[in-house]
Amino acid sequence: MAATPGAEFNREETTMSETIKTDVLIIGAGPCGLFAVFELGLLDMRVHLVDILDKLGGQCAELYPEKPIYDIPAIPLVTGQGLTDALLEQIKPFNPTFHLNEMVETIEKIGDPLFRVTTDAGKTFECKVVVISAGGGSFQPKRPPVPGIEAYEGSSVFYAVRKMEQFRDKDLLIVGGGDSALDWTLNLHPIARRVTLLHRRDDFRAAPHSVDQMRALVSSGQMDLRIGQVTGLEGVDGQLSGALVKGSDNQSYKIECNTLLPFFGLTMKLGPVANWGVKLENNLVPVETASFETDVPGIFAIGDINTYPGKLKLILSGFHEGALMAQKAHRYVYPDKRLVFQYTTSSSSLQKKLGVS
């Protein structure tokens, strides 16, 4: 197995009750968020990053890790994962701390500027500057467009498993053919009353050894595998009683179940950005173009999530935005320090920070 990108960086995975204090909190560890660590680091600002994904690189890592990108200046061709790995290498001297699998829920202004930021994992940060580099929003599980599914969400339909115990003695219908569907099939089948796995074809994207384990359970009669696609749900008051399914031969049939776990990949949603107190315009964050600050002093927005006259959603634009953001952020973090502009090529103090002098 290849080394996990960023494995050598700090990761905070446990829930902490005490407040984490940092100069800057970056929301979103895509290419723009990662490069912002570099620009902030050159100006002596310490950074924590929060990302909802379980990996670094944002869309580059989630949507197109192997696809070529041709418009990064001076790099004629790089893949999404290649770009992510190179950025991680570049920011290593600044030793940022990553908080993965976490979503920022609230941002509260408690000083001038000072912010208290909380995540859905129960962490609290206190920082002088917040940088929103959230791209297209947060990646969240996709809701399959089954008519009426909303009525069952949270009571009988779940897009993620938080506590396995919740599914004890349930009649579970798990839908999908990837690793999430297969992993939860294998993990939940010992505690559920019965597990049925439904997939549109008898061919799975999931890791072959999970597929083999699933097939062994099916042949020993311990679970069911059905082929087809959900077309409708039956139940009363949010309590599911069955799913209507269209089989590969176009015949419809019903699968009795009281709990449905659909795994249809991830989609980008604006998510909680709308609750953070910054002005929004068509689901984007308006900024001024000298420092990419939002209408709230101390909160900046860079990359695909922001908007201004002439905005282009390009990675290279996000890099530029991060550099200018850092200049203004410095004033909030070090109000008494004068900022002298320097080049990495010639400045011995910058080279010291980069660990190359």
């Binding site: 989630e62 949507l63 197109y64 696809k67 996709k142 399959p144 467009p145 089954v146 999908g176 053919g177 990837g178 997939h199 549109r200 074809r201 061919d203 994207r205 696609q229 077309t231 269209k246 249809f264 990949g265 989609t267 980008m268």
Partner: protein, 106 residues
Amino acid sequence: MAKINFVDHSGETRTIDAEPGSTVMEAAIRNSIPGIEAECGGACACATCHVYVDEAWRDKVGAPTPMEEDMLDFGYDVRPNSRLSCQIKVSDALDGLVVMTPERQA
């Protein structure tokens, strides 16, 4: 230029000119064809440019690659003639192509 016909869920047909070498998805987005979302921008990383290829055109358009099949798992009401339009390259041979857009994209 190749003519591509998009038939929407209600049966209305929209005909556009597509440049050979582009994809059916790109031609649809350029011409604001409703029913094609293309959330990932053509990286074969979602299933929101899902179309049904008219039976008469299935042989010429061909079958999805294994990677595209994997992505079709995320589609809604996937059928044997389902394709992701970002993976269909427009060519002179496809002049007159007919595709149906689904009732909803996943």
